[in-house]
C-alpha cells in the first residue's frame, strides 16, 4: 500500500507552513521582525562601523542634526540616537518575548490544572482569574512598579544589579498577563480530557501529571502558540507605557518606551526624538499582531471567521 506521492507530501506541518506562507502580510511581518531583531543585536557592530560610542555623552553636540557620523542625529545628552534605538530594541524585544513566555507558562500551568481537576478547584481558580481580568491593569501596574524591592527582602546582589528594572518588569507583566492563556488552556483541557485517548492512558494507569503533560498538553499547542504570539505586541506596548511613565526600564539602560520619556519636553527643539522610538514600537507591535493573525489562520483554518472577537 503506497499513497500517491503528492498526498504523502502533505503532512500536517507542511499544510500549516503552506497556509502561513500564503498569508503574505504575516510573512512580510515575520521578515520585518527578524530584521529588527538582527539589527538590534548588531548594535555593537554599528558602533564600530560608525566609530561612535552609544554611551558617550557629549554636551557640546546636544540635539545634533543627522550627519554621516550620527545618521539620526544626537539626543539631549549628545548621544547617538541610532545606536540608542538599537540598544533600546534589544531591551524592548527581550522584555516582550521573555515576559510573554513567562506569562504563557504560568497561564498554561494554571489552566491545565484547573481544567483537569474540575469541580470546586476549577470554579475557584476561574473566579480568581475573572477577578484578575476585572482589575484596572495600568493603575495596578503603576503601584507594583513603585514597590520598594528592599522591603521584600530580596538578595542585595540582585537589587544592586544594573538590569534589576528589566527583571522587575518581566515579573510584573507576567503576574498580570497569564489570564488569557489560562482561560484558553482551561477550556481546551475540559474538552480534550474526555477524549478516548485520555481515558485509555488513564486505564493504563498513567498518573495525573503524565496525562496532563504527555497526553493533553500537546493537543493544546495551537491555541497556546496563537494566543502567545498575539500577546507579545500587547506586552511590548505595556512595557513601553510603563517605561514612558518612568516606572519601567530605568535609564541609562535604553528601551523604546523610556527613550520617549523626555521627548515631550524637547519636542520643540528635537521632534525626531519623539518620532523614531514610537515608530519602532508601532512597527514591532503591528508585525507581531499580523504574525499572530497569520498563525491563527494557519493553525486553525476553520476559525478564520468564526473566532470570537478577541480581547485586545
Amino acid at each position: 500500500m503506497s499513497a500517491p506521492a503528492t498526498l504523502a507530501m502533505e503532512t500536517p506541518a507542511r499544510a500549516v507552513l503552506g497556509r502561513f506562507m500564503r498569508h503574505r502580510l504575516a510573512l512580510f511581518s515575520a521578515g520585518v521582525l527578524v530584521l529588527l531583531a538582527t539589527l538590534s543585536l548588531l548594535a555593537p557592530v554599528f558602533e564600530t562601523l560608525l566609530g561612535v560610542d552609544g554611551e558617550a555623552v557629549d554636551l557640546f553636540s546636544r540635539y545634533g542634526p543627522a550627519t554621516a557620523e550620527h545618521p539620526l542625529g544626537t539626543d539631549e545628552l549628545g548621544r547617538d540616537v541610532l545606536i540608542r534605538l538599537l540598544y533600546g530594541g534589544q531591551v524592548s524585544l527581550f522584555v516582550g518575548l521573555t515576559a510573554t513566555f513567562a506569562a504563557a507558562v504560568i497561564g498554561t500551568a494554571i489552566g491545565l490544572m484547573a481544567g483537569y481537576a474540575g469541580g470546586r478547584i476549577d470554579a475557584f481558580v476561574m473566579r480568581v482569574t475573572d477577578g484578575v481580568i476585572a482589575l484596572p491593569v495600568l493603575p495596578l501596574l503603576i503601584v507594583l512598579a513603585a514597590v520598594d524591592l528592599n522591603k521584600l527582602g530580596l538578595p542585595e546582589t540582585l537589587l544592586s544589579s544594573e538590569s534589576i528594572s528589566l527583571y522587575r518588569i518581566v515579573a510584573i507583566v507576567a503576574l498580570v498577563g497569564w489570564t488569557t492563556v489560562a482561560r484558553l488552556v482551561r477550556a481546551s483541557t475540559l474538552s480534550v480530557k474526555t477524549r478516548p485517548f485520555v481515558l485509555a492512558a488513564r486505564a493504563q494507569g498513567a498518573g495525573a501529571g503524565r496525562i496532563m503533560l504527555r497526553h493533553i498538553l500537546p493537543n493544546l499547542a495551537s491555541p497556546i502558540i496563537v494566543a502567545t504570539t498575539l500577546s507579545v505586541g500587547n506586552v511590548i506596548l505595556l512595557e513601553s507605557v510603563l517605561s514612558f511613565l518612568g516606572l519601567g526600564i530605568q535609564p541609562p539602560l535604553p528601551s523604546w518606551g523610556n527613550l520617549l520619556t523626555g521627548a515631550q519636553e524637547t519636542i520643540w527643539e528635537a521632534p525626531g526624538l519623539a518620532f523614531y522610538p514610537g515608530l519602532l514600537i508601532f512597527v514591532t507591535v503591528i508585525a507581531f499582531n499580523f504574525v499572530g493573525d497569520g498563525l491563527q489562520d494557519a493553525l486553525d483554518p476553520r476559525a478564520r471567521d468564526r473566532r470570537a472577537a478577541d480581547r485586545h
Partner: protein
C-alpha cells in the same frame, strides 16, 4: 433579576475588599513614608520630631493595624486627608473624576460612532478591498502606542500647525471663553478616540459576519428583503449583543487609556491623580483613587452581564450564575 443583581453586587464588594487589602499591602511596600518626605523638605526636623510625627500619623504601628484603622474610618465615610492636594480625599477626587468622565464618555461616543458603521460596512463586504483596508486600519489602531499617538498629535497640531494647545488646563492658561476651553479637550479626546476605534471595529465586524451566517438571515433574504433591511433591521440587533458586552467589559481598558492620555496632555483627571498620588507617597489618595478605578471596572463587568441577559432573551440570569 434582583436576586442576580444582589448576588453580583455582593461579589463585587468582596473583590473590592480584597483589592483594598492588596493595595494597602502594596502601598506599605513602597519606598519611604510621608514623614521621610517631610524630613527631606525640612532639614530642621530631628529624629525625635520624626518619631513623634510618626506616632501622630499612626505610622509607627504595624501595617495590619493601620489598615484596620483606615477601614474603620472608611466605612463611616472618612477617607482621610490628601497630603498632595491639602484637602480631604473626596474633595480632590470629585473634580478629577468628573474631568475623566468627560474624557471617557466623549471619546467612547466618538469611537463608537466611527467604529460601528465601519465594522458593519466591512462585514457586509468580507474580503473586499474596503474590508481589507478597514482591517488594516483597525490593526494599525490597536498596535499604536497610545502615548506616542498623543505625542504625534501634539507634534502636528500644537508644534507644527499651532492650532491647539499642547496640553494643560484652561484655568492654568487663564482663558475663559467656551471655545477656548473646548480647545483643551480636542487633542486628548482625539487621542483616546483613535486608540479605541480599532478594537471596536474588529468586534463589530466579527460579530456581524457571524450573525450574517445565521439561518434567520437566509430566511430574511429569501423573503426578498433588501440587503439594507436584512443588515440593519434583522442582523444588527443580534450582532450588537456581544459588542455591547465587550464595550462594558472594556471600561477597565478605557480607564488605562485615559490614564496614559491624561499624563501625556497633563489633563487633570483620575489617571493623573492616581499616578501623582503613587509617585508623591500620598497613600490616602492613591488608595481611594485605585479603589475607584477598580469599582468602575467591576461596574462595567456587572453592566456587561446585565446587558447580555437583557438583550438576548435566550440567556437568563440563572444561566449567568451557573
Amino acid at each position: 433579576m434582583s436576586a442576580f443583581l444582589i448576588r453580583r453586587t455582593v461579589h463585587s464588594l468582596i473583590v473590592l475588599f480584597v483589592m483594598s487589602v492588596v493595595i494597602y499591602g502594596l502601598i506599605g511596600l513602597m519606598p519611604g513614608d510621608p514623614v521621610d518626605l517631610m524630613i527631606s523638605a525640612d532639614p530642621n526636623i530631628t529624629t525625635d520630631d520624626a518619631a513623634r510625627l510618626r506616632a501622630i500619623y499612626g505610622l509607627d504601628q504595624p501595617l495590619w493595624s493601620r489598615y484596620v484603622n483606615w477601614l474603620g474610618a472608611a466605612i463611616t465615610g472618612d477617607f482621610g486627608y490628601s497630603r498632595l492636594y491639602a484637602q480631604p480625599v473626596w474633595q480632590a477626587i470629585v473634580p478629577a473624576l468628573s474631568n475623566t468622565l468627560v474624557l471617557l464618555i466623549s471619546s467612547l461616543a466618538l469611537a463608537l460612532a466611527i467604529a460601528l458603521p465601519a465594522g458593519i460596512f466591512a462585514a457586509t463586504r468580507p474580503y473586499s478591498l474596503a474590508d481589507y483596508g478597514i482591517n488594516l486600519a483597525a490593526f494599525a489602531g490597536i498596535s499604536m502606542p497610545p502615548f506616542w499617538l498623543g505625542i504625534l498629535l501634539i507634534l502636528v497640531f500644537a508644534v507644527t500647525l499651532g492650532w491647539l494647545p499642547a496640553g494643560g488646563t484652561p484655568d492654568a492658561a487663564g482663558v475663559a471663553g467656551s471655545w477656548e476651553r473646548l480647545q483643551f479637550l480636542i487633542l486628548p479626546v482625539s487621542a483616546l478616540t483613535i486608540a479605541g476605534i480599532g478594537g471596536h471595529t474588529r468586534y463589530m465586524r466579527a460579530s456581524m459576519i457571524e450573525t450574517l451566517r445565521q439561518d434567520y438571515i437566509r430566511t430574511a433574504r429569501a423573503k426578498g428583503l433588501s440587503e439594507s433591511r436584512v443588515v440593519l433591521g434583522h442582523a444588527l440587533r443580534n450582532a450588537m449583543i456581544p459588542v455591547v458586552t465587550v464595550i462594558a467589559l472594556d471600561l477597565g481598558v478605557l480607564f488605562s487609556g485615559a490614564l496614559i492620555t491624561e499624563s501625556v496632555f497633563a489633563y487633570p483627571g483620575m489617571g493623573k491623580l492616581i499616578y501623582d498620588a503613587v509617585m508623591g507617597n500620598d497613600y490616602n489618595l492613591a488608595l481611594v483613587g485605585l479603589l475607584m478605578a477598580t469599582a468602575l471596572t467591576l461596574l462595567g463587568n456587572l453592566l456587561a452581564d446585565v446587558a447580555y441577559a437583557a438583550l438576548d432573551p435566550r440567556i437568563t440570569y440563572e444561566d449567568l450564575d451557573a
